[in-house]
Symmetry: C2
Subunit: 399 residues, 2 copies
Amino acid sequence: MNGENRDTVRRRNLTALLGHIHRAGAISRADLTALTGLNRSTVGGLVGELAERGLVEEGEAVGRGTPGRPSPLVRPRRDGIAVVAVEIEVATIRLATAGLGGHIHHRVQVDRAPDRRTPDATVEDLAELIGEAVQRIAPGAAVALGVAVAGIVRQEDGFVHVAPNLQWRNVALGELLSARLSRPLPIHMGNDADLGALAEHTRGAGAGADNLIYVASEVGVGGGIIIDGRLLRGAAGYAGEIGHITVRPDGAPCRCGARGCLEAETGEWALLRLLGRRADNEREAVEHVLREAAQGSAEALGALAEIGRWLGTGLADLVNIFNPERIVLGGVFARAFPYLADAVLAELDEHAQDPSRRLVTVVTSTLGDDATLLGAVELAFDALLADPQALDALPAGAP
Amino acid sequence: MNGENRDTVRRRNLTALLGHIHRAGAISRADLTALTGLNRSTVGGLVGELAERGLVEEGEAVGRGTPGRPSPLVRPRRDGIAVVAVEIEVATIRLATAGLGGHIHHRVQVDRAPDRRTPDATVEDLAELIGEAVQRIAPGAAVALGVAVAGIVRQEDGFVHVAPNLQWRNVALGELLSARLSRPLPIHMGNDADLGALAEHTRGAGAGADNLIYVASEVGVGGGIIIDGRLLRGAAGYAGEIGHITVRPDGAPCRCGARGCLEAETGEWALLRLLGRRADNEREAVEHVLREAAQGSAEALGALAEIGRWLGTGLADLVNIFNPERIVLGGVFARAFPYLADAVLAELDEHAQDPSRRLVTVVTSTLGDDATLLGAVELAFDALLADPQALDALPAGAP
């Protein structure tokens, strides 16, 4: 913990207030007073300052069902600061601009032609899309960029060590993108599943759970971990590679080079392998299996129970390690949960230590395919909301 | 983040300073200024206040090898506040009193007769030992009690769900002990391996590594995890049960009821099982195996390599999940490391994702058998050093 001078207190309080307003979307002065422990006049003064800066506005007073005067409702200004978030997928790029409070102003999804999937072409296309998005926001209102990549990303500078689906290796994505942006923006990059965890924690199935594991199967299997309300990043940002914990030492080869990884035993390929199926379009083939399961196919249900078993083994490890309140399943795991649940819960019962087992619940994602992109929004706001100094860099008056 | 009033700033700064002094043992005012970012006169005033409260004293000025005036050295007062730490083992109780800065004033180790190992008898004996220890410290100077138990302990109230070696189940240890103490003290309880992690991080082989995994084999296999400098506790304090992650699904039965847990494949019993040996005194039998290995016994070395393989599998999971800077091995793992290392590192190479693998180093405990007890000291001080309010509860003047 660092010491602090008196003149940092105001900034710290402003940031704390802004964080509460961002997470709540709209909140009464009275609730802000209760949440921050500050007195009423201090909160009034700070809200006034945030309003002067064009960040929030006060609506009409609302009664609270408790004695006392109705308390004015504070909400983020629609035309206040905004962030740009992008998600780089193999065949598409998704982009959103969002304001404080998480409101999505605008979103775009564009297909990527096969010849535009190299790092250089991707950066070109991203820079153009981001430039357009920034233009669409009030000039100067864009304060940060959040980028989600399905790969191992260095937190410090957005260097992508490996992104298997994109077939990228050692790409200085943060640096390349920074050089290309027509308007400089702080860039925050993260792993797709880490950002899914962040979004589910802030606005999805993980809301209210400060200790949370998110595990999703998309093409690969990824995960993100929230501890005491904060995303686990590790020493360099590589934490949360849940897809590569070993659940079956003599198991199937994984594309990472090892054997028996959670991904190799529970991912889309594992399901198709168990059924002896090959498919050009794995995504479609997996959805077909889910439809068969819904119709009661013993073959499909058997394969999904096997997936559930190994998923449960991995989740039990995580329950023993983290003592989380909640596990949120995303992607195929969420859609297949009705057919996985029995096996998953049986493994948890067997392998998780009893006190931790009793405390944890397993739920499915409520944000679905949007989780990653919304997580990139939260990542971009996080830096602002965690750092009182960052406020000074904001536009000084209303836009 | 909560808001704060101006009058909390002083307390926060005092706490921050005290934390630096505690961890450093002795530190110059100039270094405190640099570490806290406060200005020199503020640091001078705060150090003065800590000195008035009898917590620290200033020694003669030291030169710093840099331009400028020599800076006075601040250190904890030997007769200032102290904590009492106890470690409950099957056949012994260890106790230490320690001051700020971690200096051990006094320590005791007493044998436990077989009929004194029930919860009630243990609490009686603990209360007596703690009472004596508190008497030995300057009256009123004892500010907290830290207790280490080899079991699953609820953070909130020190309820022990299960302590397998002690053969305890559902013991309200915190409550029982609190009722028995002749002088009330805040009680902080934790799992033995969690506290080992805390100690190695603060003063041992993990110093300087803010993201750290500690794994130790004593009777069982336990672990503790430090993230961004703080002990991972989970939703209720049960986190870090590394001994029960599954490394070999079809493996040996574990005393937890599951199969193939890290403990079942790498603990003392696993080693003796691999060698087809039974022993009344497992500890001695294991030390005998280590001596055989030192003499080049192929049988002993083969069994240890097998232990290393499964240990490496488990550690690779943890590297993928946490992206730690350092792994500290304790207990038998530390003493056996020369014979385990090749297998452990080979598994890490195979199963840990490359960027995380390259960043982590594996070292052995430097605190040895003292790690847990010293961790209980740090746990007791942690509450004080994390909570600016706690300072107000301290004795107001010099003892």
